[in-house]
């Protein structure tokens, strides 16, 4: 299915591009520093993208950096996202966003030696699947102030994606020889990416711009809708065969405050570069283990990034960015590389 979608996009690219013109006064070829905080009335924007996240470091609860690569527990996430925006009127846009991601988190491999028995244990927690569907509205000031823009936004993630983990696929292989018993046990957990509850989001944006530069600040607060009834899987191993039993449990995702400050420089009409600072702070939330609620530690992550955008054709923009962590607590310290396209159309 992914291949079909990809081929469709590739096959469609020339048709989007053939209509290119050199006229930069068009809304569809509006320069980065001239774009308001919401898209224009009747403008349809389709933004597919791919994000590669490489997590070879992690911040612990004290803010110290742990080297996951050294422990061979580095992790990679592939995320494919799709965002669709539409300008209902000149100052009001609606957004729908969805993503699909997959990631495997390894634990260190353990060897247990006991008399003539050697047990080798590895553990992998896999996260795979669709995210919840985000729907949002953004509204900007209905009058123009020179070199200034302001917007507010509100939205919610609808819990449409699967959030209960699938049955684990553990395995065990034993081998007996003259020196004793060797057991190779692999724990493999299959998690999903859905949240299982509504996540409400409120935000605001502010923008200052000149002929060549723009500074944009965005802030969002995400609020969890309530506790989630889900399951965990318990397993028993008997003669290399695992049996599983699902156990009901509850969890509650925490709340998140995130912000970004982005500096855009319009080098030439069709090319802009940007630098940005991104922050995220999470608090609250808990998991229930054996009937006891265990609260989440507070977490935060600050990162800096650079990127560029190219107006390739009248309907097509390409952009790439790279973000590096600079500080954090209780959070993965990932290198994130994003490649995206933006297809823009006027429907009126």
């Amino acid at each position: 299915m992914k291949i079909i979608c990809l081929l469709f996009i590739i096959a469609g690219l020339p048709f989007f591009c053939l209509g290119q013109t050199g006229d930069n006064s068009d809304i569809l070829t509006e320069r980065v520093v001239d774009r308001p905080l919401t898209i224009h009335a009747g403008q349809l924007q389709i933004n597919p993208g791919y994000q590669l996240t490489i997590g070879s470091k992690q911040y612990d609860i004290y803010g110290d950096k742990l080297d996951l690569a050294k422990e061979a527990t580095a992790q990679v996430r592939h995320l494919y996202d799709l965002e669709i925006k539409y300008g209902i009127i000149e100052y009001l846009e609606i957004t729908a966003a969805l993503n699909y991601s997959k990631m495997g988190v390894r634990e260190q491999q353990n060897w247990y030696f006991h008399r003539n028995e050697r047990v080798y244990v590895t553990e992998l927690s896999e996260y795979r699947g669709l995210s919840d569907l985000f729907l949002g509205l953004a509204f900007r000031l209905p009058f123009d102030i020179p070199h200034f823009g302001f917007s507010i936004s509100a939205g919610a993630s609808l819990p449409i994606a699967n959030y209960e983990p699938d049955k684990p696929t553990h395995s065990s292989i034993s081998r007996i020889d003259s020196t004793g018993i060797d057991r190779n046990i692999r724990f493999h957990f299959n998690n999903k990416n859905g949240m299982g509850t509504f996540i409400y989001q409120f935000g605001a944006g502010i923008q200052f711009f000149t002929d060549k530069f723009a500074i944009t600040g965005l802030a969002d607060y995400s609020l969890c809708g309530g506790e989630v009834k889900t399951i965990t899987w318990e397993s028993r191993l008997y003669v290399d065969e695992f049996t599983y039993q699902s156990v009901p449990c509850k969890t509650k995702p925490g709340n998140t405050f995130s912000f970004s400050i982005q500096f855009d420089y319009q080098a030439i009409n069709w090319f802009a570069i940007f630098g940005r600072f991104i922050g995220m702070m999470g608090s609250g939330g808990w998991d229930e283990e054996q009937g006891v609620k265990i609260g989440h530690h507070e977490k935060n992550l600050m990162s800096v990034g650079i990127g560029y955008e190219i107006q390739v054709a009248r309907h097509l923009r390409l952009f790439q960015s790279m973000d590096l962590p600079v500080s954090g607590k209780n959070q993965l310290a990932p290198l994130m590389i994003y490649t995206g396209a933006s297809f823009n159309f006027l429907t009126r």
Partner: protein, 324 residues
Amino acid sequence: MMKFIYGSLALLLMSSLASGQTEQQVLPSELKQQTVIQEPVTLRKGFFRTSFAGAYTFIDKVFDENGDKGYILGTIGWERSWTYNISLQYGITDRLQVMLKPVFHNKKIFYSDVLHFGTTIETAYANVSGIGFGDLVLGLDYQILQETDTRPSIVARSFLTFPTGRKNPTAIKDYKDFKLPTGTGEFVLALELKTRKIIFPYSITFNVGYSYSFEGEKIFYPDYPEDEMIRFNTGNRLDLGGSFNFHLNDWIALQNQVVFFHWGSNKIFADPTETGFKSWVLSYQPTLNFQIRRFRLYEVVFIPVLGKYYPADPFYVLGLLYTF
């Protein structure tokens, strides 16, 4: 008399016809700015091109014996690798081109074991890395057929790999503390036929190739004594590929390549002889080319789609080339 009049009229008309003639002259500097879609499949005579590319990959997942993509668990751990290469190309004639490509590797393998002896716990970390120049590739391309309005071009390409890189592990302390080799320790001869047709702003290519690996000798197992050289023979490789490429605008081109590789079994002539598995991969390789005058910046992502006994992670390349 009539002949003279006709002759005079013809001469007069010739001058008027000739004055309407225009000749489009393309300067060499403009030819050096052609995009990957427009340029000939080999460099023009006297053109010199140099490029620098960096490639990054990691090994997180693998296609197993059933072709299923799964995470690597167990003793292999996690690996990341940077490779840099400089490519020097020169057009000897409009049809014949030579290429020289030295490669520099920087790779590291990570794994750790937590050892539980009753109540005593020890953690052992690997220290396995390799930095240095790899093997040197010499290439020769010849255009058998030059492209016209009606027929495609066909080019024969040949590559000879010299095992100039360090072929043996060094500084061996134990099986998880040594320096990785940066070369393969074998000569490889590769031949390829490639055809291309331009239907501007599109182009289509097909290629078929085969590479033959000569037998070599090197140290395979770092926990062996250092002088334990073992003969080996890497499996030969078959390549099949095709691409559909087009201009997004006058200076940005997108190449969409689908490539199939099949490797024969590797053989290690130890006692007993070890024969590896045959492996294959089908990959999609989009390449984005930005042509900025004589500079070309390109990004490639090698995305394994299907395969067997082959790493399933993407491979990223960022390169810059300049035509003199």
